[in-house]
Symmetry: C2
Subunit: 341 residues, 2 copies
C-alpha cells in the first residue's frame, strides 16, 4: 500500500496545499438567500448577457475564475493545471469557459460532486510534486439543467416536495503549495459508486445519501477520527430529504450524528420563502457555498476543521428514460486551519 | 515550479509506473479491420446482449475491465482508484460499468482524449505516492455516439469524406508501482484547450489537429527531445484528414514530421474497404489501439519508445447547434520500455 494511503479510501497529504483564493458567482435567487453576504458577485440577469443558458453558465464560470485569480493576485499563467467539470452534456460549460485560459486542462465528470473531485485531484497533484498552483472549479445553472435533465421551463410543471432546485452558481478555488496560513487540504477520501436502486429523478437526495454515508464511514474508519473531530461536516447537495436519509442511515448503524452535520443544499435557500422545496442541488451548490460561506467561516476562525463532502448523482436523461437507477458518489476533503510556520 | 515539472506543460515521473495489464474489446467492424489480431474480444453483437446501445457500451467497458483484471491477475479490490470517462451524456457508460466495482472512482471528461487523461492522472497518482495500482479506461460506441451527436442511424444520411467513424470499442490499462519490466509511463504532457474556430462537426480531425500540434510542440520543447527520439508518435483519432492537417502545421513551422507519426483512427480500419471515410474516432479508438496493437508492439520490443497523444473535441450537440466552434485538447504520455532492475 502506498505510503500516503490510510486504510481503504483515504490519503493523508504530506505537504497539505493551502487555499490561496476563492470566488463564487451566483444568480438572483441564490443572491436573495441566507448566504448572500458571502458571494462575490450576484447577477440579476440569469442570461449573464448571453443568448442561451448554456452560454450563460459558461460565462458565469469564466467570470468566477477571473475573480479568483484577481483575489489571489495570481495570473492564469502561474497555474499549472485547471481541474473543472459541470453537469452539461460533454461538460461544455467548463471547456468553453477555459478555452482561452492557456492553462493545461483536466476535464472531470463527477456530476454535483465535481468540486470535491477537483479539489482532491488538484491537492494530490500539488502534494505529489507536479504543480505549485492549480485551480479547481465548477458550475451549474438552473435553466440549463432543468431543460437538459427534466422538463422545459415553459411547461411550468409542478415540482414534487423532494425535488431540488439546481443552483445557478459557480465556485473556484485556487490551491497552492507551501506554507501559507489558513485552510489546508489535509485528507482526501475518494468515493466509490454506490447504487441504492433509487429511480426517481425528482428525489436525487435519496439517491446520493447512501454514497455520502459510505464515504463518511470510510473517512472516519480510515482516519480514526470521530465526527466530533470536525467543527462542521457539510455535504454538497443532499437537500432536506437527502439529509434526513443520511441521518437515518447513521442512526440505523448506531453511529452518532452530531449537530455539526449540514448540507449546502439546505443552507443556500430559505426554502419555504424561496419555494426551493427540498433545497439546492447542482455542481454550483457545493462549490459556491464552499467558496463563500464555508471558507469565510474558516478564515474568521469560527470553524477550524471542516469535512466537505461533495455529493453527485451519476445519471443522464437517457439512463433515466431507459429505466436505470441512479448511482451516487461522494468525494470528501478535510479542510483544516494551519498556522503559518 | 514543482520539482517534477519540465518547462511549461510536462512532468517527468520520478518512479515511472509500469503497465501491468491491458485489455481491449471491440465491435464487429473493428474486428474485421487490420488490427483484429490484437483485440482481446470481438463482439458479433453490437448490442452486447443489451436492450440499448448505451447499455451495450457500458457492458462492453465492464467486460473490458474484467479482462484486464484477469490478464493482470489483479482483483478489483487491489486497485486504489479507477479513472474513467466516455462520450455519452454525463459519462453514463463508465459510471454504470463501474457501479459494482467497489473501487474509489474518479470520473473524467476529456472526450476522445480520455485515455490520455486517465493514464496521466493515474500515473501521477502512483508516482505521487497515493496508489500502488490504478485502472485507466474508456469506451465509445458507434451507434450510441451517432444518435447523440449527429443523426439517428435510421435516417441513413450520407457522410462527408471528412467524417470519421466512431469506434465501438473499449480499452483498459492497469498501472502499477514498482520495478516491473516493459512499458512505463515516464513523461506526461497535459494539453491546453485549443480552439481553431472549426464549426463543422463532420470534420473533427481538423478541430483536434491544432491541439495535437500544440501538445506535441510543448512536449518536444519541455523534454528537449526531438520527434526522432520516439519509435512511434501516435495520435488518438485525428483520422486521415486530421493527420494531414497536423502534418501541414508541422511543415508550416519548419519542423520535421517523421514517418513514425501515425494515428489510431488511421490504423484501426481498412478505410476504403470498410467505408470508414476519414478513419476511426471516439474514446474507444485510441484506447483500444493502445491497449492492443501499440502495447503489443512494445511488449515484443518492436517499439521501445512511444508517444501516445490522445486527442479530443470538447463539444456537445447543443454547443454545435448554438453555433459554437469546436475546442480541441490533446494529452500526451510517453511510454518507454525499461528493463527490470
Amino acid at each position: 500500500m502506498a505510503s500516503k494511503h490510510l486504510g481503504n479510501q483515504t490519503v493523508a497529504l504530506q505537504s497539505p496545499p493551502y487555499i490561496a483564493a476563492t470566488a463564487c458567482v451566483v444568480g438572483k435567487k441564490e443572491g436573495a438567500g441566507p448566504l448572500k453576504a458571502w458571494f462575490d458577485f450576484i447577477s440579476d440577469d440569469s442570461y449573464f448577457g448571453e443568448a442561451s443558458w448554456e452560454k450563460a453558465e459558461s460565462v458565469m464560470l469564466k467570470q468566477c475564475f477571473g475573480i479568483a485569480c484577481d483575489k489571489g493576485k495570481i495570473a492564469p499563467s502561474d497555474l499549472q493545471y485547471i481541474f473543472a467539470g459541470d453537469l452539461l452534456n460533454q461538460c461544455v460549460s467548463s471547456s468553453f469557459a477555459m478555452r482561452d485560459s492557456g492553462v493545461a486542462y483536466f476535464g472531470l465528470f463527477g456530476a454535483c460532486s465535481t468540486m470535491g473531485e477537483a479539489l482532491s485531484l488538484g491537492a494530490m497533484c500539488i502534494d505529489g510534486g507536479f504543480a505549485d498552483a492549480v485551480c479547481a472549479m465548477t458550475s451549474s445553472h438552473f435553466c440549463a439543467a432543468e431543460r437538459q435533465f427534466r422538463l422545459p421551463l415553459e411547461y411550468g410543471g409542478q415540482r414534487s416536495p423532494t425535488a431540488q432546485w439546481t443552483v445557478t452558481g459557480a465556485g473556484a478555488v485556487i490551491l497552492k503549495n507551501g506554507g501559507g496560513s489558513g485552510a489546508h487540504i489535509t485528507h482526501i477520501t475518494t468515493g466509490k459508486i454506490i447504487d441504492a436502486g433509487i429511480t426517481d429523478a425528482g428525489n436525487m437526495g435519496a439517491a446520493m445519501a447512501p454514497a455520502a454515508f459510505e464515504t463518511l464511514k470510510a473517512h472516519f474508519e480510515d482516519t480514526e477520527r470521530s465526527p466530533e473531530y470536525y467543527d462542521a461536516i457539510i455535504t454538497g447537495d443532499l437537500g432536506r430529504f437527502g439529509h434526513n436519509v443520511l441521518m437515518e442511515l447513521f442512526d440505523r448503524e448506531g453511529l452518532g450524528f452530531p449537530k455539526t452535520f449540514t448540507d449546502c443544499g439546505v443552507l443556500i435557500y430559505d426554502r419555504p420563502r424561496q419555494d426551493a422545496h427540498s433545497g439546492g442541488s447542482g455542481c454550483g451548490c457545493g462549490a459556491a457555498v464552499l467558496s463563500g460561506y464555508i471558507l469565510h467561516n474558516m478564515l474568521e476562525g469560527k470553524w477550524n476543521r471542516v469535512l466537505f463532502c461533495a455529493t453527485g448523482a451519476l445519471m443522464s436523461a437517457t439512463s433515466a428514460m431507459q429505466g436505470q437507477s441512479i448511482p451516487g458518489v461522494c468525494h470528501a476533503v478535510a479542510l483544516e486551519n494551519i498556522q503559518e510556520v
